[in-house]
Homo-oligomer: 337 residues x 4
């Protein structure tokens, strides 16, 4: 079988990573086209990765008849429209989260996916493709920890990236939408259930700038899910030690902790700082393998005619919950669903 021909749009940090993975790491796909409005970045990246076709307009990308699939890593506000247009143009679509920046957009995306049942649509919840998360998920599904009692998950960005986070704040949708969506996805994946109540708190502990966007630099929420499980999520932008994504699932028979030390590698250092492990710098380092794995899954779904585990409805559901968290945070009130 010939290699799948993929075109990718958006060359931010994650867009470049996806492009590299498709170009270099995937056996059954090739990066045939790149699209970005920044022409010099576009050409430099395409040159480096030997990508023959370059587009500065998305409509030209999807008009390329050679392409089987499109990978969307553009700004969030463009996602829904591009998903719709790409499906319309007959492409399989992989899109980074979020599905849309409003719930209406999410539902619009749902309709687009429903209108093209023969196309593969996949959302980028890469944590599900991390080896350790997957291992833990298998154990939970096999009943090894009994009934889930508490699901706790943290997403912390390092303080050293704070300037970028502040600049991006007005467009991020707030931390629940920008960061906690991944934890929300994990909670639903591990618990197979939906929230019925949400209470959220937080604030600007170090950086008052976030208040201008009705956001905090650190926020958290406590939810009760329909299966009675408690869910505590924390998202922060001021981690002193590095990029920290950790999850704990307390069950009646066992407890699993994933990445409770966000270690960079297997090296332990003993020096004047004591006995220590250095930490992951950012999501690209921590989830390096996951990004490859999820793209392999996308390609494999197309090749084998399978549908991905995550559906477009999961995308809507996660956004819905994140919006509810945001509302709970902004109003200071308990929200029952």
């Amino acid at each position: 079988m010939n290699k799948l021909k993929i075109g990718s749009v958006g060359l931010g940090r994650l867009g470049i990573r996806h492009a590299e993975n498709i170009a270099v790491k995937l056996q059954h796909a090739e990066l045939t086209a790149l699209c970005d409005i920044n022409e010099s970045l576009l050409n430099a990246t395409a040159d480096r990765l030997n990508v023959p076709r370059r587009y500065t307009r998305f409509e030209d990308l999807i008009a390329d008849d050679d392409l089987n699939a499109v990978v969307i890593v553009s700004p969030s506000a463009l996602h829904t429209g591009q998903i719709e247009a790409a499906l319309q143009a007959g492409k399989h679509v992989f899109s980074e989260k979020p599905l849309g920046v409003t719930l209406d957009e999410c539902r619009q995306a749902e309709r687009a996916v429903e209108a093209h049942p023969d196309k593969v649509f996949m959302l980028g919840f890469m944590r599900r493709f991390d080896e350790s998360y997957r291992y833990a998920h298998d154990k939970v599904k096999a009943g090894e920890i009994g009934r889930p009692v508490l699901f706790r998950s943290y997403s912390q960005d390092p303080e050293k990236f704070i300037d970028g986070a502040i600049a991006f704040a007005p467009h991020s949708g707030g931390q629940f939408l920008d960061m906690a969506v991944h934890d929300i996805d994990l909670a639903r994946w591990f618990l197979d259930s939906e929230p019925e109540s949400v209470y959220a708190v937080g604030g600007c502990y170090a950086h008052p700038e976030f208040a201008e966007s009705q956001d905090g630099d650190n926020v958290s929420c406590l939810m009760k899910f329909r299966n009675e499980a408690m869910v505590f999520l924390f998202a922060g932008r001021t981690a002193p030690h590095g990029y920290n994504v950790e999850t704990e699932i307390i069950g009646t028979k066992g407890i699993l902790r994933i990445a409770s030390v966000p270690q960079k590698n297997l090296v332990e250092i003993l020096d004047s700082g004591g006995v220590r492990k250095e930490c992951s710098e950012n999501f690209l380092e921590r989830f390096s393998e996951s990004y490859v794995n999820e793209m392999e899954e996308f390609v494999d779904c197309i090749r084998t005619g399978r549908k991905p585990e995550v559906t477009v409805y999961d995308g809507t559901k996660v956004s819905e919950i994140a919006y509810t968290c945001k509302e709970a945070f902004e109003t200071g009130e308990l929200i029952k669903l």
Copy 2:
């Protein structure tokens, strides 16, 4: 200076431990009298610890003119009355938590303490006397972690003691009062602030029996404190691995985790279970030293005329918060203070 003469009431597990510590570990005090309604246990313990005087009635214990101080480790329902009577009888008083089983009782205890300003009154919040908690507290107070963002604390009893917990459930006041009070005390101690909102969830995940007492086998709450800090507390009775008390304080400049592995000792075992550490069995093992340290502090306060850091008002405040958590849990509503 002569040794302080102490009489202790109540010979449950913790009562026996306090008796042993006073008898054996304290340099400046001696265990002069013991009191318990179970006469054979009383005599056996007193014989073993060489305690000359034995009483089956509390009024006889406090009538003993030789005694300088009384240690109260009796059932919770008796605390307030015994605190009052002991102070009235001219004794310094150390009492285990809670101060009282209702807020009225707590205020009654406050008045009793206020009426005897020359007497030392101390409540048994032993975690403050744990070497690691103290070390972390020093760092927080010295500003080493910046501004506190999230305070997270767990108290988990091992599943293997569940039968006792079920039997005791109707009298425990529920998990927030029985277990989480220590975490509430820690939160106030580390944050120097009070809660302004409380949301609590939980359930009977393994043992429906707790529902009969309007309790859960695992519960949690999320609070916002006046200084904006987020506080997440979790208490459970089904820990598969042992007795687990752990605390995390996330600050803007650093994060501290206390006992995130509840290790029994410094031995690591590599066998078919992987690389593992065995865990503490119960509070007496984990806080063995703390119980000695707090009693030394009590004795030292009496000897030097100091007042303990924890006041009777802290006892009321902690109970008040625990009751609010309990109400939030029972009603399912957010409570603003």
Copy 3:
């Protein structure tokens, strides 16, 4: 540039892994041919990996003019002859360790490599391509731990593979040659120096069968290197917890420990076994990435005309040291070099 065409000989566990990596993971190479005497295994593997050409005789493999390079994963006794023949046939050569089963063979391999200076020759010391070892090596070379004082390295195979190890014992050359060679390579790589004395001990602690091959089931040696560094190596076949390869480098300014817990992944389990991490099963799991990385390096050396960091002389040197350890073990005497 066209993809490099590689033929691989030997389909044991590691041979299959190399074949898979070349076929699936390498961007700039393709697996064009496979060779094994077991025809059904050969065909099954070649079918699975879409490898067009299959040979049961090594001379046919190297006679294939399309091939640019040969990867040798055959039994140790065949290595030297196949290296020689493949170079002679004009192929670049990657060979698994050992270079030869005698020092004479090693020198024969040296002469073959010297006779083909335009060809890339690389030995499979995969640990050098492990991310954590590389990270530690960078730190040591940058002087971050000061002067190396003690280099300690363990190679332990899990007890559960003992039957295979016993069966293979007469052909393994003993543990110093079979297992410790990797640690010897690491010691030379980290220390940039050579041993000047060797003392070795060990025995059959659980499996007397190894004595028949003048081997032990667990052995160790202490060496002094010319730069004064102490080197302690331990190799064992009875690890109760899994596959354990760990290294410690104690320097005057810092200490590095690599993989002191041979964790399978980032999941921590809290259950009746305490707080634990499951361990790697075998070398294929632990060094999964390293095997890809080293093959990428081989291909890249060919494509860019570079020579690999490890030379054929390193192969001889490591064998020489392993033989010295073996002799020290067998005689019980200190050997000075």
Copy 4:
């Protein structure tokens, strides 16, 4: 029963600690007398600990008829003579290691102990009284790790005390006698066996001053014991991270590691250094409890007429082995016993 009256000689750091422990921590003993040639230190310490009798001459201390026991924490060169004199004077004797600074002295001490069979004599191998070492020892004796294969033990002093170590070097007897004796004692205790061969290496990696005393700043040895167990010991004076005493016992069925992270307490710090634990500062911090436990054991032996587990012959044996290590280190030759 009345309290045991103890006199203690020597007010170095450890001498002061023993004095404090006897004065403050022991239930069944009291510190009745102190002896030191430094009169102002003597008086200051005695005042602080309320010790009534003070002597500047050892002969006066042991002439004190009220004393039941003498604790010897004087310079090593005085040990044997003081042990002999104290036993002669009818006292029970606790002595810090070493028994003597030559093997002749050790045997002289043996004869003194033999001449007073009614007296308790105990040597200060405090590690045996550490909770974690004891826990591990119980497991080994219960057969939980199968047959011991490798015993590895480290004693590392922090670099920050190097000036004192250099000043003391000419009188220390070298690192095997000064530091590794504790590891030698542990090896014999865990293995119940004696060495039959010793090879030792080391050097002055950071501090050439030690060479003047035929010592190194870091040394190690590999021994084979009669039960076939391998023993690797390492002693160093340049630890960058703190006071590090760790031990590993690899058995055929399990592996135990004691204090592989020399953590100060249960606090984990997450900051710019990564995720880290601070380390113990020195032996007084690490073995704080052990020093109390061993003195309690000494007192209990006297009170109950038992003999301590460690005999005078163990003291000789350990010295003998340490001298053999020293000789192996100085000559560079393998020594068979």
